[in-house]
């Protein structure tokens, strides 16, 4: 165990933010070392110079000095403010994320990290990311990097990647989005930093930053699924499968007797609600209507739809359903109510007429 003692000194700088962060970190360190140095110098010097010589030492009656006190109130204050300004700047910069960045998704649950790539590819406790290497002439990174949206299915967790100098709490019931620009190829820790129960320290993972080529290859390697199912793996496709599995199509369909409103071609339009207000048909509205249908009922429809809490439709599935409904153009029909959920991956492709579709 002690054969090769490993003493961590500085963690790898694996993202653009990490570089900025370390600059700031060492700036603070320099300043406070200087400040503390002054104090320690005073302590040492005085303890040496003014150590009690004779028991009857006389000491001058010094009550203080307004000038000095001003000085050591003012100077620290100025530096503290500089910390604040600098710190706020880097905090702010890492918050604005390019819109064209592909969105990865992480859902924490006791005690694992469930990740999903933009194309629907899922991983547990591991995440493969492409490195950012497009730079302009000045060497500035032009790669948009990636978006990382996170939420939790039970308690509060915290998705932390020391090598990126980055972490954020994943809070149940909310989705928080941050951005990464990995710059250094390698494998790094993922830690859960917010205490979440017995397995807290087991809730760790690895983040693999791969070159763009390797990333593509990795995709290739893991993406082809057995059987001939035409799975394209996108969230929308996953959503469609779910749409059938949950039998949303028994009400949301294109038949005359449909008991629920039309979904295709709705995205982005304003829909009238029963209380007369107009509601924009956006992601938020879709998600809300699945979790809590009666909150905003579309005009002219009875609120007969059951609610789907997190135990019925978890965060990732909710996201997939949303993606599917989003993807429905006016032209494409909703699956009609007789269409069954496709057989699961690996099952016989053509279900024999007798065999019912697997119900959830």
């Amino acid at each position: 165990m002690f054969a090769a003692i490993e003493i961590p000194t500085v963690p790898p700088q694996a993202s653009e933010f990490a570089a900025t962060y370390d600059l700031f970190f060492w700036y603070i360190t320099a300043v406070i070392l200087a400040g503390a140095g002054v104090v320690f110098a005073m302590l040492i010097a005085f303890s040496y110079l003014y150590a009690r010589r004779t028991p009857t030492d006389r000491t001058p009656r010094i009550l203080g000095s307004t000038k000095l006190e001003m000085l050591w109130t003012g100077i620290p204050f100025v530096f503290f403010m500089s910390f604040f300004v600098f710190g706020f700047k880097i905090y702010n910069d890492q918050l604005d994320i390019p819109d064209d960045a592909p969105e990865y998704f992480v859902a924490g649950k006791q005690w694992m990290w469930k990740m999903q790539h933009p194309d629907g590819q899922r991983e547990i406790n591991e995440l493969h990311l492409p490195v950012c290497d497009q730079r302009d002439a000045s060497g500035k990174l032009t790669d948009p990097g990636i978006k990382m949206s996170g939420t939790s299915e039970d308690v509060i967790h915290d998705f932390g990647i020391p090598a990126f100098r980055h972490k954020f709490d994943v809070v149940p019931g909310r989705t928080i989005t941050v951005g990464y620009k990995p710059t250094l190829i390698g494998t790094y820790h993922i830690f859960c930093d917010q205490y979440c129960g017995q397995g807290h320290s087991q809730m760790v993972g690895k983040i693999h930053v791969l070159s763009k080529a390797d990333y593509a290859a990795w995709k290739e390697g893991t993406f082809r699924l057995p059987g001939k199912n035409p799975v394209d793996g996108s969230p929308a496709w996953e959503g469609r499968k779910l749409f059938l599995k949950l039998q949303c199509n028994s009400c949301h369909n294109n038949e005359a007797s449909a008991r629920a409103p039309q979904l295709s071609g709705m995205y982005g339009t304003n829909r009238p609600l029963e209380d007369g207000k107009l509601q924009k048909f956006d992601d938020e509205y879709i998600k809300r209507s699945i979790r809590n249908p009666i909150a905003q009922v579309a005009a002219g429809w009875k609120s007969i739809m059951p609610a789907y809490p997190v135990d019925k439709v978890d965060e990732i599935e909710l996201r997939n359903l949303t993606a599917y409904i989003k993807s429905l153009k006016n032209t494409d029909k909703l699956p009609d109510r007789t269409e069954l959920a496709p057989a699961p991956v690996g099952a016989p492709v053509q279900p024999s007429p007798g065999a019912a579709a697997p119900k959830p």
């Binding site: 918050l95 954020f168 909310r174 928080i176 941050v178």
Partner: protein, 107 residues
């Protein structure tokens, strides 16, 4: 030397309010309570909460100044009352700032 030897304490010498003024205070409070109820029983829409809280504020002021004798209390007692209000305000300001602004932008 008794003057010198008297310990330091911020003096606040009280007398009790006259019977008349006590009854007057009560009358005022009762009227305010009636007002409070009538506001409660009518529909002002969003103004309702403002109106009723204003009345409550007046009630609390009257009660504390006359019944709780802030009227003749010393600075220190006023400080207590003031401090409690101030700290409650601190709590409300920050917490509610979060409740109101979180949806605009959160980390």
């Amino acid at each position: 030397m008794s003057e010198v030897r008297d310990t330091i304490h911020e003096k606040d010498e009280h007398t009790v309010a006259s019977f008349g003024s006590t009854m007057t205070t009560f009358a005022v409070l009762a009227v305010l309570a009636v007002l409070q109820l009538s506001v409660g029983f009518t529909d002002f829409g969003p103004m309702k909460i403002l109106a009723s809280l204003t009345i409550t504020g007046v009630q609390v002021f009257v009660l504390s100044v006359f019944f709780m004798d802030l009227r003749q209390a010393d600075k220190l007692t006023w400080l207590c009352a003031g401090a409690s209000v101030f700290w409650v305000l601190i709590m409300f300001t920050f917490t509610l700032t979060d409740f109101i602004t979180r949806h605009m932008a959160a980390y």
